[in-house]
């Protein structure tokens, strides 16, 4: 296959790379060089660390959810509380890192794509903090179903640009942000919100998000005395999952990424790229994606706007291919049940995205029984999902 002899940088096995118009190559080269330099720069790291501590509120707690554990066959379930990070999700870890990088590069404008709006809010927040103008592309469908985040972004001073192409969801917002950057990269940084896109984005986003796994590994050892029997995280593009998984990669424990099965895999209305897709190229990298026989990107569906995306980060495609991580899927209904279950047993309203991970923990916990120990990434809070338009797709 053509990918075997590919030489663009940023490969995870045969996945990843750079499949972009030539116009973007200088921008990506500039970003790659800046990231390599600044990630190893003490002053940059000190500033980022201080902001993660004082501004984002890290480390986020690792919480033993004992009443929810009862719903999980009695297995002990720990939640990594990214929902308690500033802005209400893990997204700020990455947006802040990229915004600092943008400032160091002398960029004077930030753009982002958003699905559920969590990454848009995080980027708008980082932009406000650094005094940079910010424009966020958001599909018209998502603007309706995640209205709270739309209001938050505007309050933070960002401009939300509606995207009316395709299904008017995350994929289309991402395409539009890339097109903006094709013409604006000299003064603009594109803050990609997940571990997708051309190199260096998947690597860079993983690096900024790895703080989740670094903290969680230390915390579980402190609180539980040993590593858990498994890690669980939801996967849309896959940034919260890769952030949790990566620091555990050399540990001998199962890692499970949970994709959105939507109305059920058999219905064809889902967003499970790894479970139900094939290898291909979307948004600048070679990974798995949902596509038809002709290589056209397929329409997707999930109750969770942040998972409603036909692609997935290339590193996840590689982790699946090597067997180091396992990928499963959970339906809208299962995720909704887990959403209610966590709210009622723990007083925590999870994001619908994170509820997919919780739903899988409920079934995996039952398999493991009371001796099992699971660490679930609670990637975001669910305030945004409280009022929702039930006929959204």
């Amino acid at each position: 296959m053509m990918m075997k002899t590919a030489t663009t940088p940023g490969r995870f096995g045969e996945f990843g790379g750079r499949y972009v118009p030539e116009t973007l190559v200088p921008a990506l080269d500039e970003l790659e060089a800046a990231f390599d330099r600044l990630w190893n720069d003490d002053d940059f790291r000190a500033e980022l660390d201080m902001l993660l501590l004082d501004y984002v509120g890290r480390p986020t707690p690792l919480y033993h959810a004992s009443r929810f554990s009862e719903r999980c066959g009695g297995a002990t379930v720990y939640l990594k509380r990214e929902d308690l990070a500033h802005t209400g999700s893990h997204k700020l870890n990455n947006a802040l890192g990229q915004a600092l990088l943008a400032r160091a590069l002398g960029k004077t404008r930030l753009i982002a794509e958003t699905g559920a709006g969590q990454h848009g809010v995080a980027t708008a927040t980082a932009a406000a903090l650094l005094g940079l103008p910010c424009q966020v592309y958001m599909g018209r469908t998502d603007m309706k179903r995640q209205r709270l985040n739309l209001i938050r972004m505007e309050l933070l001073g960002a401009e939300v640009i509606p995207v009316d192409s395709g299904a008017k969801t995350l994929k289309d917002a991402t395409s539009q942000a890339i097109r903006d950057w094709m013409g604006s990269y000299r003064d603009t940084h594109y803050v990609i919100g997940s571990c997708v896109g051309p190199h260096p984005y998947p690597l860079m986003v993983r690096t900024f998000q790895s703080v989740i796994g670094v903290e969680a590994r230390r915390q579980i050892l402190e609180q539980h005395g040993e590593l858990p029997d498994g890690l669980v995280a939801c996967v849309g593009g896959g940034s919260n999952a890769i952030g949790l998984f990566h620091p555990f990669i050399d540990d001998d424990i199962p890692m499970v990424g949970v994709e959105a099965a939507g109305a059920g895999l058999a219905s064809g209305r889902h967003s499970a790229s790894l479970v139900g897709g094939r290898a291909g190229v979307l948004h600048g990298s070679y990974s798995f994606l949902l596509q038809d026989d002709d290589g056209q990107v397929a329409p997707t569906h999930s109750i969770a706007a942040g998972l409603d995306y036909p692609g997935v980060g290339p590193e996840h495609a590689w982790l699946q291919a090597t067997g180091r991580a396992r990928y499963v899927s959970v339906t809208d209904d299962e995720a909704s049940a887990a959403y209610s279950a966590l709210a009622k047993t723990e007083g925590i309203i999870p994001a619908l995205e994170s509820s997919h991970a919780l739903a899988y923990a409920m079934s995996w916990g039952r398999e493991l029984g009371p001796d099992g120990v699971l660490l679930v990434n609670l990637s975001g809070r669910g305030d945004k999902d409280v009022v929702r338009d039930d006929d959204d797709g």
């Binding site: 053509m2 030539e22 116009t23 013409g183």
Partner: protein, 292 residues
């Protein structure tokens, strides 16, 4: 000599640059594509660049995105395009370069894609999101099938990358005239002449320039520097506007198609006039080639 090389040679003998007319295959159906191909060929276009619709084109502005959406809605597929390609070849001698995103090629199977494209009558292949450093296999497959491979450079492309892209190109080399996506917005880039001069130093095949060429005056300016002038969105927009207007005026489908083809033919003639009006550069180009 490939048909693409012959097309550039023929233009050179006419002491002018070549016109490369881009059309979106299947917008809104393949009958229209065939009619438009005939129209641009009759107006004197030297090469047709046929865009295979993709759901998520990254380098295209709203005009071509909308064309792809219409084409996909009509049920276009690579297979159907290949089935209809001989009909385009029948109505015109103009060589056809297929422009496509990588994923449809990957899904079809690159080797089969190249063989079937050639069998259907294509002369070359252009895949904007396949960078030359990743294209060694595809180049081999395309060349084995008898297809030229066209690569691109943009205003901020480094010297090293420019040389590699030019070296990987057969048929012609595609220079993007400015930053941004396809379409009229921003016009032709200010640095166009310098960009062509830079490419001349390393490029042994004809140099064509695209992005932002909409009117005869743009074509003239590009033709004064480059060997080929690529025009896309201007044709696509005109065809769709005239077609829609005719349909809204209750004209039949075929009358609307004929009106669109007529308008596109006039546009192509305007661009050809611009190209012919360019200060002849053939002699100068020859000298430069000998020197380098």
């Amino acid at each position: 000599m490939t048909t693409i090389a012959s097309a550039f040679e023929r233009a050179k003998r006419d002491r002018r640059s070549a016109l490369i007319a881009y059309l979106a295959a299947g917008d809104p159906d393949l009958a229209m594509t065939i009619a438009l191909a005939r129209a641009v060929a009759e107006a004197g276009a030297d090469i047709i660049e046929l865009g295979i619709p993709f759901s998520d084109p990254l380098a295209d502005g709203p005009i071509i995105q909308a064309a792809y959406t219409r084409a996909l809605a009509s049920g276009i597929s690579v297979k159907r395009i290949f089935e209809h390609l001989p009909m385009i070849a029948e109505v015109t001698e103009t060589p056809i370069v297929l422009m496509t995103a990588l994923n449809p090629v990957h899904a079809y199977g690159p080797d089969a894609f190249c063989r079937d494209a050639k069998a259907a009558g294509a002369a070359g292949l252009l895949i904007p999101d396949l960078l030359p450093e990743d294209a060694s296999d595809l180049r081999e497959q395309a060349h084995a099938a008898g297809l030229d491979t066209v690569f691109l450079a943009a205003p901020d492309t480094t010297e090293e990358r420019l040389a590699a892209a030019a070296a990987a190109s057969t048929g012609f080399f595609y220079l993007i005239s400015r930053r941004g996506v396809t379409g009229p917005e921003g016009g032709v880039g200010e640095e166009l002449e310098a960009e062509v001069a830079r490419a001349r130093k390393v490029c042994t095949v004809p140099i064509a320039v695209g992005f932002g060429v909409t009117a005869g005056a743009d074509a003239r300016r590009v033709a004064e520097a480059a060997d080929g002038v690529i025009v896309g969105s201007a044709f696509v927009r005109l065809a769709s506007e005239v077609f829609e207007e005719a349909r809204e005026g209750n004209q039949s489908h075929s009358a609307a198609r004929a009106a669109a083809a007529e308008a596109v033919k006039a546009k192509a003639q305007e661009l050809m006039d611009g190209i012919r009006g360019a200060r002849s550069k053939t002699a100068r180009t020859e000298t430069e080639r000998v020197e380098t």
